[in-house]
Symmetry: C2
Subunit: 682 residues, 2 copies
Amino acid sequence: MKLESFVLGAWRSGASEGVALRDATSGELIAHATTDGFDMAAILEHARTVGGPALRETSFHERAALLRALGKRLLESKEDFYALSHRTGATRADSWIDIDGGIGTMLAFASKGARELPDGRVYLDGGVEALSKGGSFVGRHVCVSRAGAAVQINAFNFPVWGMFEKLAPAILAGMPVIVKPATATAYLTERVVRRIVELAILPPGTLQMIAGGVGDLFDHLGSQDVVSFTGSASTAVKLRTHPIVTRRSVRFIAETDSLNSSILGPDAGPGTAEFELYADEVVREMTVKAGQKCTAIRKAIVPATMLEAATAAIAERLAAVRVGDPRAPDTRMGPLASRDQRHEVLHRLEELRGESDLIHGDPHDPRLREANARGGGFLAPLLLRCRDAASASAVHSVEAFGPVATLLAYRDLDEAIELARRGDGSLAGSLFTADEKVAAHVAIGLAPFHGRLLVVNRHCAAESTGHGAPLAPLVHGGPGRAGGGEEMGGIRGVLHYMQRTALQGSPAMLAAIGGRWIRGATERDPGRHPFRKPFDELAIGDTFRSNARQITVADIEAFAALTGDNFYAHMSETEAARNPLFGSRVAHGYYLISAAAGLFVDPDYGPVLGNYGLDELRFVKPAKPGDWIKVRLTCKEKSLRADKGWGEVRWDALITNQDGETVASYDVLTMVSVHAVPDAAR
Amino acid sequence: MKLESFVLGAWRSGASEGVALRDATSGELIAHATTDGFDMAAILEHARTVGGPALRETSFHERAALLRALGKRLLESKEDFYALSHRTGATRADSWIDIDGGIGTMLAFASKGARELPDGRVYLDGGVEALSKGGSFVGRHVCVSRAGAAVQINAFNFPVWGMFEKLAPAILAGMPVIVKPATATAYLTERVVRRIVELAILPPGTLQMIAGGVGDLFDHLGSQDVVSFTGSASTAVKLRTHPIVTRRSVRFIAETDSLNSSILGPDAGPGTAEFELYADEVVREMTVKAGQKCTAIRKAIVPATMLEAATAAIAERLAAVRVGDPRAPDTRMGPLASRDQRHEVLHRLEELRGESDLIHGDPHDPRLREANARGGGFLAPLLLRCRDAASASAVHSVEAFGPVATLLAYRDLDEAIELARRGDGSLAGSLFTADEKVAAHVAIGLAPFHGRLLVVNRHCAAESTGHGAPLAPLVHGGPGRAGGGEEMGGIRGVLHYMQRTALQGSPAMLAAIGGRWIRGATERDPGRHPFRKPFDELAIGDTFRSNARQITVADIEAFAALTGDNFYAHMSETEAARNPLFGSRVAHGYYLISAAAGLFVDPDYGPVLGNYGLDELRFVKPAKPGDWIKVRLTCKEKSLRADKGWGEVRWDALITNQDGETVASYDVLTMVSVHAVPDAAR
């Protein structure tokens, strides 16, 4: 059987015989994979000219809805994916991380996109920058979809999650995707893509998948393309120094496996909850996916005084781990992905043993011999202990990508930090402590060398997602050896597929380009009170200017009596005079914004459903008895909630005094119906 | 004379004779520069172990104060810098961009740092991420100083600005800097660094400067270092593919000169203000610094119908440009940086002339012959016109880095966009139009290919800083040919020198690490009302829990009468029933936060000076007559304004109802005196 690729809108297979893909348990042939003869330039161009334009027609919310629909439908087919996943060596629990975890990551991006991005195509990054005294010249940053293709090269260990954690942010950003799964487990990715193609939810050209090598694809990359790579550091170097990548400054995001540490705090001795949690976590990280995770704990760094106890606790748990057929429900750990992978791990193990002792597990466990003879990649979990952590080097540089970890002893916290830092850049680190001071010291010490840090204590352990799990809202990546890249991190991950551009010009021009009103831009006459206009009729710039109202001592006192807010600066001329900011009695800030609402609210039943909040309220100049205030309210930004029958409308509010000085500045957030007469019955 | 470098805390010169640096006007020898024999590994290590730790002891505000003090003192010496700057070929106006512009950029970062960063060492990036249902496990991102050295390699054209635009964000981030100016004009950088060293404002080891080649410095780079490079694309490729840079994922920021476009809008015909502004700007960009700017306009893209008029307007202005000794007050344009630079430009000119006609200026202007014979690099400004813009290629790829620009004609806006995009990634683009629709269409079309876009109309022209000027608050950089990097952009530029790390754990742990209270973290008993505690005595987590208060129709009506806010949902049971969100009569949101203040405010004179704002106010659940509300107020974050005698204190406020449900959530911002009894007289 020849594994097919989905390219140029159709399923195709390559010209040569290709690479043999085999079952991790039995060594049985599953398929051959090849992309020989593929026109990689045409595949890139298909993404750029068919997928990209179609995707960029849609808004962030529409793209989020595509991802949500896709995720929900894929969950219906997941048992099919689980069955195939066993062939990679994954147990049901391993497969849950890959399949449910992968689809869940896509759904998390769908949700982030709907909640945190506007119903538009331009993302506004940061606020307006004042570039001139007179205010006629301002700046702001926008992010727009890059006009190229996203080439996403994934590792063999998570054939489903690896695709979705990269694909979801790219689609949300408006970039078409070419997925290149690691060939060894591409059959599972292929099955999922086949289902995606059948569902026909994504616009044509948005997703292509090549099962096999990239061929000459890199020769055809352009400056608008993005390459996102997960895999070995050596392949990352090879790809990122490709002459086209460097000459055209192709954006290149690398996430490479790293040597990750977990530190047991000096307070977390035997008998504490944190000690038990630590031993559990080290064993979990060694055995999940048979330790084939780029985030797995490789260095278990424990106080020298607790070395024996930690060794015993971990060894005891390892002894209970059942290694075997990943399909069997009582199997805790399956085989490595292939026999080759097993040989590679054993080779690295020998390097590590030059300075560490093997203290638990037999690399040639006789119980696994028979299964391996049939072609399996089984390996017992192996715990090492470093003879002299301070002088060791292999433990900080050699990664055995399997169920292998090494214990290191530290004398004081600074040595623990130093031992973790010697990984020279890691994806993930963790610390088990109940002591906040220890946590602060270690976390700040480790942070420059880590992309993610987990602190576990008894209070969060039950809900903790664990050392090794990257999560959609948090960045995944790390400095140095970890590749220097970042993925995910919520909207941050979406922006990797967009171009940030600084805009400069008049407020009106920047409002026209960014779709958000800016102070100084044109104020439109809405024709009637803007609160009487349904969502679709409201225009950016629609402005209401109120009458003026005088601040009086009587009103201040009535407000204080009603609310109970008798702060001295409002209530006593003498006491207020002692306040260095006021000098004399001032109105309550809360009164000013309440009175401003009284000045701008249109009281009758209508399309404005309610005020759901205020943003960035600043009291700029105090208002004092005798002052007159008035308010300008301008429609600043609109974002439709198509499924809800209303949209969010942000209003720019400015309270000024009789001299035109700013008293208060804020955004008013309202929900506005798409109907002129909304009704509870709708 | 041998130019000295400032390394390892002392002024030193290299071992060999080195490169001869010459006056751009006369060819006269200024100095020799060499770094032969320098121990580059020691220089890097000096930054990392002396400068870095000293700088990281200080807070963002303290670093901002260092930069401000340094900038102010340097301005006192600027006439000395101006005198030397003429030797680079710069006129007084050119030098203003470099010297005042450079110091001004540093002062702008000082101001941004004081206003937008906290008085601490950890930058909190984004909000808290809920990672669990129960709330015991949360996430957030922090940015901390990278533990390495910032190696900053600058171009020859702005020896002062080039240093400060990179140095300021790095220092603010807490990273020590090694400046490597372009050797050709390093004597001016050296003069400024000499003054910086004399001033002794920066901590030892924070700033080193090497006047000459980088030697083997790259062989000693580590994973925590950052290289920030400005210069040619070919050098950028060479440096970014250095084996150490790729193997250790050294963060590498490149800004390379690019082919930048300026488009004349179809509405901006002869006779309009925008047409005149366009002709002025093209000429300014051709002549400032003799066109030696990486952001300069190289392609002037005009409507075909206006080609003749635009040619005439630009040529007329060019004819009035006086080229000569940069020291003479009536000189508009000085020489190129060197004779070699002139030869290089003439060489590129020939390439461009293969598809464009020279329509103004003589590359061998007899008026400049004598000065050039003495060793000067003088060149008259040269305007070309492309014979067929659509089929041309050199105009989109060959850069003559001097006073050279080419006119291209377009038929419609999409062709104009396409012609600009063919630069394949630019630092800056501009558009001259009075039409907002044109601006929106062109800007969105250009944005993916540009780091910065300027839109000029008659309203902003007087205050516009121009096509070529990078500004501290805006990103400087661009995709593709422009190098793919970003610098500046306000705080964004500071974060380039920091590591972003995702933290996960219990709310209390994350509060302890990040220095900001998080919901769910420990609530401290402040011992007394927290408003009675001066700034230094307030602790993060200090919490006040109020009594409850009942919502009544009488209070709602009194509030409406006092404020004038008679919105129907507050005033009429029947009308409110028609509102799909409320269903029945609700209290004003403004009333809820005002009553909450009544519940939490301590009325007597004391250290809390005032409430200067609210952030992220959200009304979550309506409060109705009969409901009881109460408020929890917790000290969330503190940032001292040491020079002002008070600090900013952010309080987390949560209004709940009788069922413990959230009614409203917001941050209250206050100024709190460092004194228990503040006084106007202080």
